[in-house]
Each structure stands twice: as C-alpha cells, then as structure tokens.
C-alpha cells in the first residue's frame, strides 16, 4: 500500500491524468516528456511509476557490484536534476483546475506533449488514481 500522499492535501480530490505508455520508456524519452510537460499550466505534481532498477546487484554471486543500467541515471527537468530509479511506464499528473474547461484545456496540452514525444503510443485517462489525503494508516 502506498505510504503518505506525496504532497499536501489540496482540500478536494483534484483530477489526475494517467499517461500509460505502450512501451517502457528510456531515460532519454522520459526526460523529453517531462520537459514537454513542464511548461503546461495547472500541473500540481507529476508522479511516475515503472519497473524498478537497483543501483547495485542485490543478489547472486555478484551481489554488491554496480548494476550499470543505462536507464538508471540523473535527468534534467526544467533545469533541475531528477534521479531516475525506474524505467518509467506511466505518469500520473495531478491538475490544479477549477472547472471542466480548464481541465479539458490542460488535458489537450498534455496529450499534445505526449504525442510529440512518445512514438510507441500511450493511453490517456482522466480520473483519480493515487492517494490524495492521509488515511488512518498514516497516523501512527
């Protein structure tokens, strides 16, 4: 189960856009997609999921030696360094919008950004996919 929400509760469950890629993305493509999403307004946060890549080998006779996976690296997003620990397969984009028009506009911009940068295709859905406020489990 997911731990605490990644950002503070906005007061209402804001809509989220799920971009589910048809292929697992390389670090280079992830960087391109994130930089294309960066200037879009009303994006409150972007979470990514994918297949975990360990820094070192965690079992077997080579336990402890560096993994040297080409897709596990630091990428630049909007001038900031982001350390990728996954081969990214999906983006969850939370939108800070107030009405349907604002939502539609933002979704179209997100779709255009993904169309331009994800040649293997993706599916886009709008809903609420992740935890947005603390629940009983988070008070220990």
């Amino acid at each position: 189960m997911l731990s605490e929400p990644t950002v503070e509760y906005a007061g209402i469950p804001l809509p989220e856009v799920e971009i589910f890629s048809n292929a697992l993305l390389s670090a280079e493509t992830t960087e391109k997609v994130l930089n294309a999403l960066d200037p879009i307004e009303h994006i409150r946060q972007i979470n990514m999921t994918g297949e975990s890549i360990s820094k070192n080998l965690n079992s077997g006779p080579g336990k402890g030696i560096p993994n040297n996976h080409s897709e596990r690296k630091v990428i630049k997003v909007g001038g900031k360094d982001v350390e990728l620990r996954f081969q990214v397969g999906a983006f969850y984009i939370e939108l800070n919008v107030e009405n349907q028009e604002m939502l539609d506009e933002a979704v179209e911009k997100i779709r255009a950004a993904c169309d331009a940068n994800m040649p293997r295709g993706f599916s886009l859905t709008v809903g609420r996919y992740s935890k947005y406020r603390k629940t009983l489990r988070d008070y220990k």
């Binding site: 048809n22 697992l24 360990s54 080998l57 080579g62 993994n67 996976h69």
Partner: protein, 258 residues
C-alpha cells in the same frame, strides 16, 4: 494390440501445432543463429572457456559404484560418466509472443533430452544438468528457433520482466540489463553473464524476429493472438483434465462418462 502412438498435444490452431512441434523429438528444430560454444560458456559463467570441468565424484569407469540393478539398466550421460558438477541455465520468456513459454519448455526438455532436471515458474525455466551436457544443450537452445534475442532472456537471478511491457526497442525488461540493443547493427548484444557479472567482451545473439513472424512461431495462446477458447479441442482437453481432477482426485480412472 498396436503400440500406443504419442500424440503430444491436441488442437489445430497455430500455437497448438507449434506445441506439438517443439515436443516431438523427431522434429529437428530450426537453427537460426550460431553463437560459439565459448560464448555460451561465457554467458553461463560457470567456468572459463578452455578450463577443465570440475568434478564431484570419480569417473564411473573406475568401478567404485555399488552393485545396483538400476545403475546397470541406465546408460549414464557423458557428464555423469566423468563426474561433472551439476550446473544450470535459466531462460525467461516474455508473454509478448516469445517463441516458447516456460511450461512448454519443460515438456520439450523432458521429451527431447535425458539426464536433466527442470523447474517451471511463471516466467522462467531452469535446467539443471551435468556441466558438459548442459553446455551442449544450452548452445542448442540459444541457437534454435525457441530462442528470440529480444523476448528470451538468459537470466540466472533477478529474472523479473516476462510480464512487463517491452522497452522502446522491443526488448524485454531486465533490471540488470544483461543485454543491450546495438543501434547500428540492429542486434541484441550480451554485456553481462546470466548473473549480471560483466563480460570481457560483447556477445551478439543476432537480430530479433518480427512480431508477425513470432505470432506464427509462438506456442503462446493470447487473447490478442490466438485465443485458447477458439481452439475447441484444446479447450475440451483442459476441461476434461479439470473435471477428472475435481471429481476423481488421484483416481481419475474411476470417473465415468467424462
């Protein structure tokens, strides 16, 4: 009474026919590539090429075996004669129309070879065998049509990836990246051995097959390929076993009219 003729697998769909093909020891599987024996040994990582085989018991010819009727009956395989260690190779097969899947690997191995132990898991299949025999078998398995460079992985540990989406080059996900895509040659190249220890030099295993070709070659039933339910005979066979097992437990022969 005529001798029973092995039938291998029911059905008339492509995957069913392919299943019969791989299981039938009389069918010679097509050889699609030639990875040298030294490179196969390097990928497996149990010994260095050219190194002597380590042994765990003296050669059988020395005659220190106990008097045993089974030992007299069974001809030992070469590695057993020499007292080789048991080593392994493990293949991971993607669900995206890999040429074969783990369960059929078990059927194929046991139908075609002697002296091996194999274990099936959802995405991978291990073969344990005497070292020198294993090397020969591993070479055959890497060279023949049941191996696809992009959708079959040689992975001793951290095998995760068979049910993951493929990456942008069409390769099955590997958290340890044992093989990489060579952009210029359009080939898959191994850079680490099966437990991800870096190799001294890259080993090419050739070009991946096209999806259209794989769909013809695969033994995998899939809703977006050939659905198992569309093959009536295969469905009936599955249901029959299910029914016999449910009603009969360990005495399916006592269940009538199924």
């Amino acid at each position: 009474m005529t001798a029973y003729k092995r039938q291998f697998y029911p059905g008339n769909s492509t995957p069913a026919k392919n299943r019969r093909r791989v299981m039938d020891p009389k069918v010679k599987l097509k050889k699609l590539r030639d990875v040298s024996m030294d490179d196969v040994v390097r990928i497996m990582g149990h010994r260095n090429p050219g190194e002597d085989y380590k042994s765990i018991h003296p050669p059988i010819e020395e005659g220190k075996e106990p008097d045993c009727p089974i030992r007299k009956l069974v001809e030992p395989i070469e590695g057993a004669k020499k007292g080789d260690r048991i080593r392994y190779i493990q293949f991971t097969d993607s669900v995206y129309f890999a040429p074969i899947s783990p369960y059929q690997r078990a059927w194929m191995y046991l139908s075609r070879y002697r002296g091996l132990d194999t274990g099936t898991l959802s995405g991978r299949q291990i073969i344990e065998m005497r070292e020198r025999d294993l090397e020969k078998l591993a070479k055959e398995m890497i060279d023949n049509e049941t191996f696809d460079p992009a959708l079959t992985g040689i992975r001793g540990a951290t095998v995760h990836g068979h049910a993951c989406r493929l990456d942008e080059n069409g390769l099955m996900f590997d958290a340890w990246q044992r093989y990489v895509w060579d952009k210029d040659k359009k080939e898959v190249v191994y850079v680490k051995d099966q437990v991800a220890i870096p190799l001294d030099r890259k080993i090419s295993v050739g070009k991946p097959a096209s999806m259209a070709d794989l769909k013809k070659r695969t033994t995998i039933f899939r809703a977006d390929g050939v659905d198992m339910r569309d093959d009536k005979e295969v469905t009936a066979y599955g249901l029959r076993i299910h029914k016999l097992r449910t009603l009969g437990g360990y005495q399916p022969f006592n269940v009538k009219d199924v």
